[in-house]
Amino acid sequence: MNDTVLSPEQRAEKLEGIGCKRKRVEDIRFVQGKGNYVDDLKLPGMLYGDFVRSPYAHARVKKIDTSKATALPGVVAVLTAEELKGVNLAWMPTLAGDTQMVLADGKVLFQNQEVAFVVATDRYTAADGVELVEVEYEELPVNVDPLKAMDDGAPVIREDIKDKTEGAHGKRKHYNHIFSWEAGDKAAADAAFEEADVTIKEFIVYPRVHPCPLETCQCVASFDKITGDLTLWGTFQAPHVIRTVASLISPIPEHKIHVIAPDIGGGFGNKVGAYSGYICSIVASIVTGQPVKWVEDRIENLSTTAFARDFHMTTEIAATKDGRITGLRVYTLADHGAFDACANATKWPAGLFSIVSGSYDIPAAHCLVDGVYTNKAPGGVAYRCSFRVTEAAYCLERAMDIMAQKLGMDPAEFRMKNLIKREQFPYKSAFGWEYDSGDYETALNKAMAAVDYAGLRAEQKAKQEAFKRGETRELMGIGVAFFTEIVGAGPSRACDILGIAMFDSAEIRIHPTGTGICRLGTKSQGQGHETTYAQIIATELGIAADGITVEEGNTDTAPYGLGTYGSRSTPVSGAATAMACRKIKAKAQMIAAYLLEVHDDDLEWDVDRFRVKGNPERFKTMTELAWAAYHEVPPGMEPGLEAVNYYDPPNMTFPFGAYISVVDIDVDTGETKVRRFYALDDCGTRINPMIIEGQIHGGLTEAFAIAMGQEIHYDETGNVTSASFLDYFLPTAVETPKWETDWTTTPSPHHPIGAKGVGESPNVGGVPCFSNAVNDAFAFLGSTHIQMPHDHWRTWEAAEKLGLHT
């Protein structure tokens, strides 16, 4: 059919732009096993590196004997801290302003810490070499408990900074103290508590967990001695940041470093940081003159590269007796492990934790976070989360239930009463954030209607009565959670990484025949960027999404960007894409005016073309204008049709959602069945609803895993006891609940297309929703808070403590 006879709606549909459930372009290669992941890479002469790791959580390294390993045929080199000192790389800077050992320098500070790097001709020989390295240790006292870190006489974790009274974020009050960070108004919050009718206080722990993507962290480093160029392929969520860090810590200038992130098998925050494996591979390639590959195994992944949470939050709410919140106070002890390697924006040592006033109109609030060192792995990444937002949402949403319980109010009713009202937006929170947009009451009402909330409460009441009469051993719990996220970091006035402002970028080139390529500073790890960015361009420029190639992950070709984490791709690079399109469109309009011999202002945009106002038969399509841009531009105009945009967002975006779940608990076994989980998300403008729903399913499944079973657990001597899939809970298709998803749409007023970001919402809202459901089941018996994870054992134990087994 000729395009000219299609209606504007039909032409728009063919573009597969914003709002289309477009099938993913990535899938064609993935379903055929033709993805290109780091470990698929094979280079001539490539060597393999493997780590010797510490069996102890805290010990002095007395002696390292590498002679037997180096004598093994096939072993090419063994690196220790001594070798790294020669190139000034025994320690590396962290994103949080601390320094971190690359290889053990004098002592080890956590179990499985990297001690030596064995490089061999194949991975089996490298593993053989690891076995032959002999290390003599002298054990030291261990502390893995953040609550004891600042005790008198606690083991000194960091001898290198023992006497430093100033850290990267101000004064240190103990040799194991890293930083104190506070927000809000302490005096106002304290006054609210003094005057309150009702207060609650609960110690709420968000345990240490791990993002655990199915593909571990890995890289291949190849240094060319002739040209002095370093090429580094790796599992990098932020390739440009890796390039800049590599150039800052090595003598190699940044233009000689080529970082390439190919397909990435999931990230969830794990692949933001810089790890010892990358540094050792680079050094080994420089030393040997050959490419060196490093691939983590699963135990190494779970026990060394990154962890998340480990926040110990004393949470208090003050309220009037009729249920109006008047104050909030949170004191958090944050366990950062042996080095402060948190992946936060540099000025924010506790991330965006001050979103802790959540979705409620709270007049006075204060939070204080103390970071401490322990003998645990460093990290502190945002596991499917925007910089500590999950921790904030969890402690607040648990505390909301506890206050409702004390007031004798229904948890949903208590929330409804305190939600920020639609007419209050843009809303300034007590912590100073300006929430962009929201319609919270509509969302919660819709959620409650969808699940027949009143009916569920009536059923629960009947079950509780039956339980008391001894007619059933099953308890029913209803979980309610309402969350507000803060994503899309960020305005450069507030956020930077090592001094680099947190903008992001898009560069678009339209080819003469009307197709094009878009390159970005972000990096998909499964989010479907190749599909969705093209949809933004399709709507903005009237070019079919199928005609746009989206390319990320090559620092030589992509414009500089800060990468993909904290739900920032759509809010920041999505905005950059739209803005770059608008530059191209403005030029196209001038070309169209020239060709149609009218003034620019006499033209109007119509899906995929500029037409003359009042004379729609006279038009130039974007395809025609692309050709003209390389063929006959107006006199004085540069030929070509391309644009780049570096987008510095004016504010964060604030996605929100209302979640309700139902669980049934067997009090004699602790077994908890998820009967229902309903999730309503509002992420502003929806670019690809199919991909959004997929993101929500995945995030809810990760929330289910965290709430119901995940914990990176250490015994008191510092052994990590949950570092393989034997012990670390990843749900299978059998345990995973069925998800019901829903939405409202409240566009962001400051984002060019109104989008807010979505990938992390389900984790932020899902964890408290599950935890509230389990806690709710026991609340009528007087229980206020049961710590996560709610595995069968802990739930049985909670029932036991309540005397339900006698």
Partner: protein, 166 residues
């Protein structure tokens, strides 16, 4: 370490090779034969990213030695599509139903489902969930993977499948 001669069929092609007895099948496939579709996700046979078909059974090739496949017939994700390149109903179903995100578990997941649908051509949802419970996915929450397999099951049986990806 002394190498041993093995001969096997991989994706319909005869293969002869010398391997160390300790070489795992996954490393043999990925590094010697450059079949990089199957992946390594855990080393302990929990995640199933390395799933291949060996003599009519799904196996986790990270816990099978290459020499154990001697004389056997192996199918990997690269051997699932038709010789003319037409996608298998499962490959089509995973795309249609949004049954994948990062793609890392997908080759193992599809290869497992390929065997499941031969064991049980019209499985119920519960049978699909149990049937793929040896394969972990961190991205999708499984709901659309189940739909993808239902799509393929219907297509192979020649019956309509009306549902869309959620």
């Amino acid at each position: 370490m002394a190498k041993q001669q093995i001969s096997l069929t991989v994706n319909g092609k005869a293969v002869e090779a010398l391997v160390e007895p300790r070489t795992l099948l996954i490393h043999f496939l990925r590094e010697e034969l450059s079949l990089t579709g199957p992946h390594i996700g855990c080393d302990t046979s929990h995640c199933g990213a390395c799933t291949v078909d060996l003599d009519g059974k799904s196996v986790k090739s990270c816990t099978v030695f290459a020499i154990q496949a001697n004389g056997g017939e192996v199918t990997t994700i690269e051997g699932i599509a038709a010789p003319d390149g037409a996608l298998h109903a499962l490959q089509e179903g995973f795309r249609e139903m949004h049954g994948l995100q990062c793609g890392f578990c997908t080759p193992g997941m599809i290869t497992r489902a390929y065997r499941l649908l031969q064991e049980n051509p019209r499985p119920t949802e519960a049978e699909i969930r149990m049937g793929i419970s040896g394969n972990l996915c961190r991205c999708t929450g499984y709901q659309n993977i189940v739909k993808a397999i239902q799509y393929a099951s219907a297509k192979l049986a020649g019956v309509p499948f009306e549902e869309a990806a959620e």
